[in-house]
Symmetry: C2
């Protein structure tokens, strides 16, 4: 081989690549100290333009409400460019986006989102549930998908402003116990067609009407994923709320629905490790061989599972209220709360041995959805749904606690899980 002259390459930063690189990028994005840096996302610069064509609010239980297509009157937008950083955000009438056909988000999935809810409390107040966790996770997701960083606290202020603007009309005080779904999203709008980090992006926040999804008669039916289809992988992006985790799951989900299942129970690897149920975290309650009640969910170590806010809250509530030797709820045994790798084979074994107690999916959209059925390699497991058929007793207690926090009847753990949105 002839010797070749090559340009020297600075390699002292190679370890910044990838996962470490992301953590590095995140560490540089500290919320600023109250002083608006040029080009930083700054909620105090918000401009407001109210709609002149307000739309009617769908009735509770209507087909429109269930369509998931109705947004409230307004939305938040903020534009970012590599040169200028973040422009002043705007609160403006809800309506279609104008995007160039070659926009990065339409070809290269430079997109991520969050899912949150706005709750109308039984005390008449509007609340968010631990919204700072979603805003921080949004930053993690934008970073993973090569979209710009922002101070999470500024995103939260924008979300609160939209909720305060549209909450009174779209979630009126006579709808105590109801909610709107909040969808923050960021998309790459750069329309240079080459595959590269977008130099332009758009932050969006919408409020959508959703019907509750947690009361499925008989419980959710899950179909365990086939060996030839896998949702996420170590070194991939299963832990981030990026669009790229969802579209590729829809073929399996669609076929499952055609067969009468609600969601895929996503397994990973030859040992059929449990990861997620649909786009929710998955919890199992069983009795250990030693006779203890144990609640298990997948750990986050391999980064193939979403660090769900509902997941985290369930764990914290269980550890605080049921893990002691005298649980806070009469009739329940003390539980051991475990985050670890666990497999479909362990579930089958516990089921066979009569140790399986109950199971539920946990996430913002599905909330706490009791699971009534799992099919794995043709084998059907009928999961107990409690005496009233609405969910096992641990599931029901966790759900009640969360509901009470979301709608203002319980403070949660360590206070301030319910974040009050002051109305104008």
């Amino acid at each position: 081989m002839a010797p070749i002259t090559i340009t020297p390459i600075d390699d002292d930063k190679v370890s910044d690549l990838t996962a470490q690189g992301i953590e590095h990028a995140l560490s540089k994005t500290k919320p600023h100290n109250g002083v608006a840096t040029s080009g930083e996302l700054d909620a105090s610069l918000l401009t407001t333009s109210l709609t002149t064509s307000p739309r009617p609010v769908p009735a509770i239980g209507s087909a429109e409400m269930a369509s998931q297509k109705i947004c409230t009157d307004h939305m938040i937008q903020a534009k970012w460019t590599e040169e200028e950083g973040w422009a002043a955000p705007s609160l403006q009438p809800y309506g279609p986006l104008s995007l160039m056909p070659t926009s990065s988000c339409l070809h290269y999935a430079t997109q991520c989102f969050e899912g949150m809810k706005l709750y109308r409390g039984h005390d008449g107040k509007l609340r968010l549930f631990r919204p700072e966790l979603n805003c921080k996770r949004m930053l993690m997701s934008t970073t993973r998908i090569a979209l710009p960083a922002f101070p999470p606290a500024e995103l939260l202020k924008l979300i609160v402003k939209l909720c305060a603007t549209d909450g009174e009309k779209w979630l009126p005080k006579d709808r105590a116990g109801a909610f709107l779904y909040i969808r923050p999203a960021m998309i790459g709008t750069d329309f240079a067609l080459g595959v590269q980090r977008p130099r332009e992006a758009l932050l969006l926040v919408m409020l959508t009407c959703f019907a509750p999804m947690d009361d499925i008669p008989g419980g959710a039916k899950l179909l365990a994923s086939q060996d030839d289809m896998c949702r996420a992988w170590p070194g991939g992006f299963g832990y981030a709320k990026v669009g790229a985790n969802y579209g590729p799951s829809l073929v399996a989900q669609g076929e499952a629905r055609e067969k009468g299942f609600h969601q895929i129970l996503w397994l990973f690897g030859e040992d059929c490790t449990i990861t997620e149920a649909g786009a929710s975290n998955f919890f199992v309650v069983w009795r250990t061989k030693e006779g203890k009640v144990q609640i298990v969910t997948a750990d986050l170590d391999e980064k193939i599972v979403l660090d769900g806010v509902t997941r985290r809250s369930v764990l914290e509530l269980l550890r605080t209220r049921l893990a002691s030797s005298s649980p806070a709820v009469e009739g329940l045994e003390p539980v051991e709360v475990v985050e670890r790798k666990f497999t479909m084979f362990e579930i089958e074994e516990a089921y066979r041995e009569g140790r399986f107690i109950e199971a539920f999916a946990a996430g913002t959209a599905w909330f706490i959805a009791p699971v009534g059925h799992i099919q794995f390699r043709g084998n059907d497991l009928a999961i107990p749904m409690g005496d009233d058929g609405e969910g096992g007793k641990y599931t029901t207690v966790v759900k009640r606690w969360l509901k009470n926090i979301m709608w203002g009847q319980d403070e949660g753990v360590g206070n301030e899980w319910g974040f009050i949105v002051e109305e104008a």
Copy 2:
């Protein structure tokens, strides 16, 4: 456990799920027999609306040409809905799309695309390169990402119509040897926010001005991916041209570019299997321990590598023209052409032992790009770039063959690799 009554679930089709399900879906989408089925994509129904504001064509070598932001005057659009199937496609002025902020493609990456080129031949004719392969792959990609099927031959007719309309102006006869980049794409436009198979979609075809990317002084510099970041995995979607493969690669690509590399060389697994270079296939030329010249690229068995049209054409050309005992080109040895799993450690070993000959990336955008440098775990490999520094001799021959086919001076293997677009 109390016995639970569950709805019986039809499980005779469980094996249709996932990869088999996709092949099943594909098998149902045979091109129709000349009779337009209701709701089928049908190029003969095309409506045409020409622009009244034609734009100037960028000069060869201009910054505009390199910006990858300039499309030609027109585009193709076709709308699909679950109820109505495909509406009549339209050829219309190029311009922005109007999309609802909750559109599926913006949140769940329900999107896929193709990359092709339109070539202005040295004989004055316009040509596509094996376009039927891209149209078939597009169908495979739409199926994988839960978007609607279509007859690939109809997509090809629409592409040809757009090329025939804009080719004369945007790729004039005095630009022999130049090309336009063709971007067919499909996006999910359903704006119901739930995670589900889109019930509305949009097919698009655009023509974009691109500068050639294959003549990098010193050759392409590749940074082998870190162990903690992985592009694709078995059971995933690395073989499909879906947006979800691209966005998640941009963090690594961006950091590589900051360090002076052009692309990531994507490795897979603990044994550092070679998969792709950037978004191109990757070929290595080395001498085996037995002394034979061998050209190797990753096989497609695990479905983690794109079945590239350029890849396939390179393999077919090499097998036809260089694999015999008396190769078609003077000065070249007979080569053994191999598709198999091979690893970064084998590359290092061949390099250490003086058996490494050359390497190149192959794809539509990058064409045949000689590789001049690979860095793996801090170890730099300077790859021979030939006597003139423009690429090794096998790389150069393959590139010349393909150029000659694309621009009308060689028929290729088995004829008709160059598909002539008749101009009006």
